[in-house]
């Protein structure tokens, strides 16, 4: 395009109107040009965009299409692999299960367990040892299996003559024909009488048996003990499975287990008296399995598992021992379980445990369990009241889960709880306001309606079933299922989808298991306890290096002269050796208050809480007055291992501060059993001194309440003082009408205390405080009349008496001297004066004051 000025065709003299019209036309064309240009630009851009999209889509489609055949091939391949493995796996699993069933005696030849029945697995205690194989080559794992408390039946169904008499008395009082008082009061009183004599559980059994409305037939029992404790709920056999890296690497099966199996000694008449040996204590044959490994193995209660070299070297991460009673059908099994629950109910007690019940005694609170007491008021309502298991109660839910009738819990303490029902209501309320990433994932899998129903019916924060207590041992009921084999019986799609989801995620969570803190990997208990929200105490006992070696068996010691079964020392309030077992709230050592100077009390608490389970009681008969030396003490454990126990001086050194029952200056470890008397006659105290603290006066006092008179008879110093005071007051009465003025106030240098109150003044001696016997002036009418000295022998007049400060504790102390009269084994009689120290009556006040004004009241 040329410039207008450059165009030779433009005339020079042109009309302005024409020129303007030309310019307008040109301007219009310019606008049209711009518009057309924009249109072209837009169209080109659109075409470019579409072309680019087409290219991209074509490329991506090409890629996707090229990947599909390969992926289809992988799908086909893995699908066929899964199918092939599934078939193979089913064959092997079926064969394995069949083999296990035959070995456990649960195959069709010995009995069957229908898969529709849930299995109840009761806990057992395992003891294990890696030992050289009996044939001398290789190593074997020895496993001992002991039934837990819940298995053991110690019930005596028969009634003694006395039980029958008192039981009949109870029902007579409970009947309408009895006279006196209201029927409920009479029944309650009769119940208390029964409880006083037999305890609550036995009283419940007696009334149950003799109930005229529904009497139970039982044999008369003439002895207190007619049968050994036993169990009838053990499986047919045990199978032990050892795991490494979550895989079973060794499996072993035990011998058939007798039914019933004795778990304690038989009564003397039934016990086999021929079993005597220097190697093993004399016990009856039925319970020999408890101490002898070979017998236990023969009875199926011990397993000997040969190990490969690798298994012996690396051991196992987990050992599971289990078994089922397949020889009984479901009905018979439920019957046995009911009998067992009844036996617990009528011997040591059966209860449902509510939430938040403490199992241990602490300074803040006592445990939620108190051993049977003589107070029958608490048990009366439970045992003689209405059934405690209405529909929906915790007891009814527990009975349903165990497959027994609710009657088994109808008189179990707290069986009428409603925690499960409340938990369901809480879940119903919480569902609408709950949200979490996990819940959203689950909702996508199961759908809201199904998931809500599942959450409300089955999910429980405290566990889906109530916990039980048998005697002092709590047992939780934990329902479990093999998720790998989960199938829905009702054809609910959501249930299958949910099970699949859990199965898939379990694979992921298993990866995190190895990272979980565990005592096996983490040495620091504080780190471990930090994971638990409410753990705040722990006790760690460290073994010195080489301690285990010192206890290694010694071949030099080959025999013992006496064999016995040691019994662990136990006492009321003793901490339970099992972590979750209920401690007895009757005695709570954690609540004992002690001052720093209460050494005896502190030592007692220390012993009771920390060292109580270090002691065993062994019965050895030795002659009175004899000097004994224990040359060797060998412990044979339940695996047949023998361990020589060394004397404490050999372990801790000759200068060990620890001594008990040892003789002074003795290097031969002798034990002296001194002659001791049985009961002796004791007179009234001839001297009675009460020691008490007087914190107001900052002294302690020794109050000579009774002293021995010169004639040898008790002299009551209190009465003597009162008599002397009255006599003195009579002598001090001023004559009437003397006309002298009487002062209304009087100044006194100090008050007097009774003459039999002897001060004990605190004095510093070295780093400790001693109480030194002091003396007070005897203030007469006109002047001091000598000093007040003690008159008895306890306070040792004439000598300086220095007592340790701790000897007069806050509660005081009482020391008495009494005549003792006893007869010795040879018939001779002996008379002597003995001393006895007992707790006092607390603090006291003498009222001693100095520099005081005393007001007189005229008339």
């Amino acid at each position: 395009m040329k410039r207008i000025e450059d165009s030779p065709e433009i005339p020079v003299d042109i009309d302005t109107g024409v020129l303007e019209a030309w310019a307008d036309a040109l301007e219009q064309l310019r606008a049209d040009y711009d518009s057309a240009f924009d249109r072209v630009h837009d169209a080109q851009r659109r075409v470019n965009e579409l072309s680019r999209s087409r290219d991209q889509l074509q490329t991506e489609l090409h890629t996707v299409l090229s990947q599909i055949p390969g992926t289809q091939a992988v799908v086909e391949s893995t699908r066929s692999q899964v199918a092939a493995l599934s078939t193979q796996l089913e064959d092997y699993q079926a064969a394995r299960d069949a083999a296990t069933a035959r070995l456990l005696g649960t195959d069709r030849l010995d009995g069957t367990v229908e898969t529709k029945h849930p299995l109840l697995l009761l806990p057992v205690r395992l003891e294990t040892r890696f030992l050289s194989a009996r044939n001398g080559s290789g190593t074997e794992l020895r496993v001992r299996v002991y039934p837990d408390d819940v298995h053991i039946d110690t019930h005596e169904p028969g009634l003694t003559e006395e039980e029958e008499r008192w039981g009949n008395h109870f029902w007579e009082q409970a009947g309408d024909g009895a006279s006196g008082g209201d029927p409920t009061g009479r029944k309650q009183q009769a119940w208390q009488q029964l409880v006083d004599r037999f305890g609550s559980p036995r009283a419940a059994w007696i009334t149950h048996v003799l109930d005229p409305a529904k009497p139970v037939t039982t044999a008369r029992r003439d002895e207190t003990w007619t049968r050994a404790s036993h169990t009838q709920v053990l499986p047919n056999r045990w199978v032990a499975v050892g795991y490494r890296e979550e895989k079973p690497v060794v499996t072993a099966w035990g011998q058939p287990i007798p039914d019933p199996l004795a778990t304690g000694p038989s009564p003397p008449r039934q016990a086999d008296p021929t079993i005597e040996s220097n190697e093993l204590p004399a016990i009856d044959e039925q319970m020999r399995w408890m101490i002898d490994f070979d017998t236990a193995e023969a009875k199926g209660m011990a397993l000997r598992i040969p190990l490969t070299e690798d298994q012996a070297r690396w051991g196992f991460e987990r050992l599971v021992v289990m078994g089922i009673k397949a020889s009984l059908d479901a009905e018979a099994t439920a019957g046995r379980l009911t009998d067992l629950l009844d036996a617990h109910h009528y011997t040591n007690g059966l209860a449902v445990v509510a939430q938040n019940v403490p199992t241990n005694n602490t300074a803040e609170a006592s445990s939620g369990y108190t051993s049977s007491s003589g107070d029958g008021s608490g048990s009366y309502a439970i045992e003689q009241g209405d059934s405690l298991v209405p529909a929906g109660s915790d007891g009814e839910i527990a009975a349903q889960a165990l497959g027994v009738t609710p009657v088994a819990f109808s008189h179990a303490r707290d069986a009428d709880g409603t925690e499960q029902r409340h938990a369901r209501a809480m879940n119903t309320a919480l569902w609408g306001i709950s949200d979490s990433p996990l819940m959203r994932q689950l909702l996508a899998v199961g759908g809201p309606n199904f998931l809500r129903g599942h959450f409300v019916d089955f999910v429980r924060a405290r566990g889906p079933l109530p916990a039980l207590r048998v005697d002092s041992q709590p047992y939780g009921l934990l329902p479990v299922a093999a998720l790998d084999r989960w199938v829905t019986l009702d054809g609910i799609h959501e249930e299958t989808a949910l099970a699949d989801w859990w199965r898939a995620h379990r694979q992921i969570w298993r990866q995190y298991v190895a990272r979980a803190l565990s005592l096996a990997h983490d040495g620091d208990p504080l780190t471990l306890l930090g994971q638990e929200a409410n753990a705040c105490h722990y006790m760690l006992q460290e073994l010195e290096d080489g301690a285990a070696d010192q206890n290694a068996p010694s071949e030099e010691v080959s025999s013992v002269t006496v064999a016995f079964l040691p019994a662990p020392v136990s006492f009321r309030g003793m901490p339970s050796p099992r972590f979750w077992e209920f401690e007895d709230a009757k005695v709570n050592f954690a609540k004992v208050e002690a001052n720093p100077q209460d050494l005896a009390r502190l030592l007692l608490v220390k012993f009771a809480l920390e060292y109580a389970n270090d002691w065993f009681l062994v019965p050895i008969e030795i002659n009175v007055g004899s000097l004994c030396q224990i040359r060797s003490l060998i412990v044979t454990n339940t695996f047949g291992e023998r361990t020589l126990i060394f004397h404490t001086t050999q372990v801790d050194g000759a200068k060990s501060p620890w001594r008990a029952f040892a003789l002074s200056q003795d290097s031969q470890h002798l034990f002296f059993l001194p002659p001791v008397l049985g009961p002796s006659l004791q007179s009234a105290p001839v001297e009675d001194v009460l020691f008490l603290r007087d914190e107001m006066a900052n002294v302690a006092w020794a109050v000579e309440r009774v002293v021995e008179s010169p004639s040898g008879r008790p002299l009551d110093r209190f009465e003597a003082f009162q008599e002397a005071r009255r006599r003195k007051e009579r002598e001090e009465v001023p004559p009437n009408g003397s006309g002298k003025s009487v002062a209304t106030v009087a100044y006194r240098l100090g008050t007097s205390v009774p003459d039999y109150w002897i001060p004990l003044l605190p004095v510093q001696q070295g780093t400790s405080i001693r109480l030194k016997r002091g003396v007070l002036p005897n203030i007469g009418i006109e002047a001091v009349e000598g000093m007040l000295e003690p008159q008895g022998r306890v306070l040792e007049p004439g000598h300086e008496l220095l007592l340790h400060d701790e000897e007069v504790p806050r509660e005081g102390a009482r020391v008495t001297r009494s005549y003792q009269y006893a007869r010795w084994v040879d018939g001779s009689t002996h008379l002597w004066i003995g001393r006895r120290k007992q707790p006092g009556r607390g603090e006291g006040s003498s009222g001693l004051q100095f520099d005081i004004l005393t007001a007189f009241v005229e008339g």
Binding site: S7, R54, V64, V74, Y92, R96
Partner: protein
């Protein structure tokens, strides 16, 4: 000349034989592997039969049955692991295939849509270019003619 040609033909024949043998090798290997697999499966089946026979024996030999059960337990554990792994692989592959198919189903209509729009856009471009050329020509004509009375 004839010798040279014959030599070449012989070499070509050798090459063909070599190629044929090379092509046959994988087939032979596959056949051998299949035979091996079949033999292994047969052995397993035989063993399984023997074990089942031992399990069903009445009365059973406890020692042998314990060994059989232990072996079965070991192999079942290995198979369970392999089965779980194969199942996971299969689930992953199924999921991948599913997503690929879904993507393919998305891409195809999208491409068709683009292809359907493209002719119209090209036509619009062509028309716009024609219009632009017309306007250009008009301007040139107007400029060329200049203002006239």
């Amino acid at each position: 000349m004839a010798v040279s040609q014959a030599t070449n033909e012989a070499q070509a024949a050798d090459r063909q034989v070599a190629e044929a043998i090379a092509a046959l090798n994988p087939i032979n290997q596959a056949i051998a592997a299949a035979h091996e697999q079949q033999a292994s499966a047969q052995t397993m089946l035989t063993l399984l039969d023997q074990w089942n026979e031992e399990i069903a024996r009445d009365p059973h030999d406890r020692k042998i049955l314990e060994q059989v059960a232990a072996t079965l337990s070991d192999r079942a554990t290995v198979l369970e692991d392999a089965h779980a792994e194969a199942r996971v692989q299969n689930e992953i592959a199924e999921e991948t295939l599913s997503s690929l198919t879904a993507r393919c189903d998305q891409l195809t209509p999208a491409l068709n849509n683009v292809n359907a729009q493209l002719p119209a856009a090209s036509e619009e471009l062509r028309a716009a270019n024609v219009a632009l050329a017309g306007v250009t020509r008009s301007i040139q004509t107007l400029l060329k003619s200049g203002p006239r009375a």
